[in-house]
């Protein structure tokens, strides 16, 4: 394949991929009071405004708390299931696995709508717990898939070796299994966190003014006023996600480095 053509193509595709993100970053620093590109001048006024505005800061806090709680909930439910499913060998294991993964293939809007009816019926309409339930439902598949892949990829004879060396099932789990699948749990947790942090459909229908998440707040803001505040809060959103990604990637790298050194 002609590398000149390839390079040209990658530049074009890269422009397409990055353009909408870069314009947001640029507009976040505009000095104007309206959205325009290129910005007529530069300032930090919109970032300052957004950081001081509870209409954005409270939803941001809500989003962080919800994402952490949803990821923890998904981990508590999905990790044990992944352990059992990876070992397999019981009737219906394949069916249970597809069932636990099925929220992935359903449009989030449909799930959101059904949950809205359901929570109203059982008297949880408008309650924060409803939001948490919805986000746990959509993050379970990510957690399950990542841990399953990790556990299926490791050499399970290490567990058998531990047993022949006299370890009880609990100690096998704590000292052998858990360290082996820890990268999977961390990666799955990160995935679940990001999915919840970015989720719109469920949050839009199940949250209230008080429990609105960041994407919902941004969406509401766009609906009523199209101003650079959206770009500023979006920039904060992008920055937070990037920092979280880098921090975990860095942590992962260090973790693996330490593990391999330990083995030698």
């Amino acid at each position: 394949m002609n590398s000149g053509w390839s390079r040209g193509y990658v530049v074009l595709a890269g422009t397409f991929i990055l353009a909408p993100l870069l314009v947001v970053v640029a507009v976040a620093f505009t000095s104007a009071s309206f959205v325009s590109f290129p910005p007529p001048g530069w300032s930090l006024r919109w970032l300052a405004k957004v950081l001081a505005d509870p209409a954005f800061m409270r939803p941001l806090g809500n989003s962080l708390v919800l994402a952490a709680l949803a990821a923890s909930g998904a981990a508590l439910l999905a990790v044990p299931a992944a352990l059992a499913l990876a070992r397999g060998g019981f009737r219906g294991a394949a069916e249970i696995e597809s069932f636990l993964l099925s929220p992935l293939s359903l449009p989030a809007l449909i799930l959101s709508l059904s949950l809205l009816f359901f929570l109203a019926r059982i008297g949880l309409g408008g309650q924060p717990i409803g939001l948490w339930i919805g986000h746990v439902v959509v993050t379970i598949p990510y957690m399950l898939r990542t841990v399953l892949a990790t556990y299926r990829g490791v050499d399970r004879s290490a567990e058998e070796a531990a047993m022949t060396l006299g370890a009880t099932p609990l100690r096998v789990f704590l000292h052998v299994t858990l360290p082996m699948i820890r990268p999977g749990i961390l990666a799955g947790g990160l995935f679940a966190f990001l999915v919840s942090f970015d989720e719109v459909a469920i949050a839009l229908l199940l949250s209230t003014m008080r429990t609105a998440t960041l994407p919902v707040a941004i969406l509401n803001h766009i609906a009523h006023n199209y101003d650079p505040a959206v770009a500023a809060i979006s920039l904060i959103n992008i920055a937070l996600v990037t920092v979280a990604m880098l921090a975990l990637e860095f942590g992962f790298g260090l973790d693996r480095l330490m593990l391999s050194r330990g083995r030698k």
Binding site: A19, A81, L100, I110, L219, A231, M245
Partner: protein, 274 residues
């Protein structure tokens, strides 16, 4: 043996019960609501006859499918060459290309849609470029074209990853074998790479198609009443009209369309595997 099975049961039970209660249960309830078993509804297929009898909803359904088809074609056109270049790259270039295509996934859909509004807006990037070139400005922010481009941007990673996964699994020696047998690069692609990557391309297309039908944030924010799709209509029935029974009905029609796409995918996959 029995205790092993019991332990497995105990381990999967919490997740299964949680999803049975908060995923399957609500869906079944949704079916019930659409059949008039909600507050203030009259049981029966009334909502469905209302839906099928009104040509407006048929038009919205056509719009939804048309938009999904256009977005799918767009992501395929952009994504296939990208996946090809990605799988052929090595080392750092490969990592960077992968990061480039996956990174937008980490940015929330609302933010990305806002980004396209800045690109297509009247005082946006596109018009700044057109002005610079001395061309007339465009007002396409609320158009199908703009929505399709923004959705293609949102869904491109799914297309690229589906195709790249298939290409990545191919033995690199296949193309070389074809070369030693007299096939020039175009014929290596035409007779070996293309047929073998078809599976990934079809998977990617159906995935993007299904995801596109379910997306409502981008058409909601960028569109107006002229550019109505099923998902946005569902949302409006819920929040504006508060007609739960009809929202449930529309939602289930959407779900049926999505499931039909997945069924088609499973069938094609089996056909290709045979």
């Amino acid at each position: 043996m029995t205790s092993d099975r019991r332990r497995a049961g105990l381990l999967v039970a919490p997740a299964v019960l949680f999803l049975a209660g908060f995923f399957l249960g609500p869906l079944l309830l949704g079916v019930g609501v659409s059949l008039g078993h909600g507050p203030g509804g009259t049981p029966g297929f009334g909502q469905y006859t209302r839906l099928l009898g009104d040509s407006y909803y048929w038009e919205v359904a056509r719009n939804t499918l048309g938009l999904a088809a256009a977005v799918t074609a767009l992501t395929l056109a952009i994504g296939y060459p990208y996946a090809l270049i990605l799988t052929r790259a090595g080392g750092v270039a490969k990592t960077l290309l992968l990061l480039l295509v996956v990174a937008p996934l980490m940015v929330n859909v609302v933010v990305r849609t806002f980004g396209w509004m800045v690109v297509f807006g009247r005082a946006g990037l596109l018009n700044a470029l057109l002005r610079g070139l001395g061309l007339p400005e465009l007002d396409i922010l609320n158009s199908w074209t703009a929505i399709a481009i923004a959705l293609a941007h949102v869904l491109l990673p799914f297309m690229v990853l589906s195709i790249a996964a298939t290409l990545e699994g191919l033995d690199p020696a296949l193309g070389e074998a074809a070369a030693t047998l007299g096939a020039d690069p175009w014929r290596q692609f035409r007779h070996v790479l293309l047929p073998l990557s078809l599976h990934g391309a079809i998977t990617g297309c159906l995935l993007v198609f299904a995801l596109c039908m379910g997306s409502f944030v981008t058409p909601l924010v960028m569109g107006n009443n002229r550019t109505m799709v099923l998902a946005v209509l569902v949302y409006q029935q819920l929040t504006v009209t508060s007609d739960w029974a009809f929202a449930a009905t529309l939602g289930l029609v959407l779900l049926a369309l999505v499931l039909a796409v997945f069924w088609l995918q499973a069938r094609l996959a089996r056909r290709l595997a045979a």
